[in-house]
Symmetry: C2
DNA sequence: GTTATCGGTTAACTAATGGTTACCGGTTAC
DNA sequence: GTAACCGGTAACCATTAGTTAACCGATAAC
């Protein structure tokens, strides 16, 4: 993971940065998949395993989301010569940079559940 | 803003927390609106002013998003007895808790723009 | 009287998201 | 032989998200 660099930005630049982030990480599933991979970084993460653990995602969506994450260099896809053939998905070094984002969302979500209880 | 509380959660609970967060903060506009309000916390933020500064949002979307943020107690809506009548939107105390989320997204977006350059 | 601003609403529309079902070839376990 | 698991894809459909344009009453400026 990289050293966080403090930046200065105008409000306009900040809003544009949020837009950029959401273009790549937005939607219902991508951050959940990234968090799952982050939590299982030393394991083999096959398609089916991810699908079982990211609750509710369909094969179609998982396939699409993983492809998009791969295009943006956040995830790698490796076909393993096992029998039957399995496919391993893993976070890239760059993918690790998403961790703080998922972390704040986890914190907020847990806190919110407490709050509305 | 509240003191961050360290929590322990299983991966499953973490993914559920992300789902919860995205249900309330997800979509194209909510986090941008929240960031804008956070950056202008001591000012009067009228409907039109927000619409001008959150670039690209239509009146319909802004109206809808503000209503949802209000329902979730993140924003207040106050009709001001000016002439013409203006409406002021402001972050609640609870709304401030969203700051870390927007902060990590701003950082990630700025960093990403550097990276792909 | 005309135009503009304020804070929206409404209707009509398109684009994006996401779900469901069925199916593919190959492999293994029974 | 049959069923199940692996990693998907294809077709179809429904829902949601989001856009555009027109319009509202009230007020104010010219």
């Amino acid at each position: 993971m990289e050293t966080p660099i403090k930046r200065e930005a105008t409000c306009e630049q900040e809003l544009a940065a949020i837009r950029d982030s959401l273009e790549i990480l937005g939607g219902k599933w991508k951050l959940r998949i990234m968090r799952y991979l982050n939590n299982h970084i030393d394991e083999k993460n096959t398609f089916k395993k991810i699908q079982r653990e990211v609750e509710g995602i369909s094969a179609k969506m998982l396939s699409k989301e993983l492809r998009e994450l791969e295009i943006n260099l956040l995830v790698t896809r490796t076909v393993m010569e096992t029998r039957p053939v399995t496919v391993n998905y893993a976070m890239t070094e760059y993918g690790l940079s998403v961790f703080p984002v998922t972390e704040t969302l986890v914190d907020w979500g847990l806190n919110h559940r407490e709050k509305i209880k």
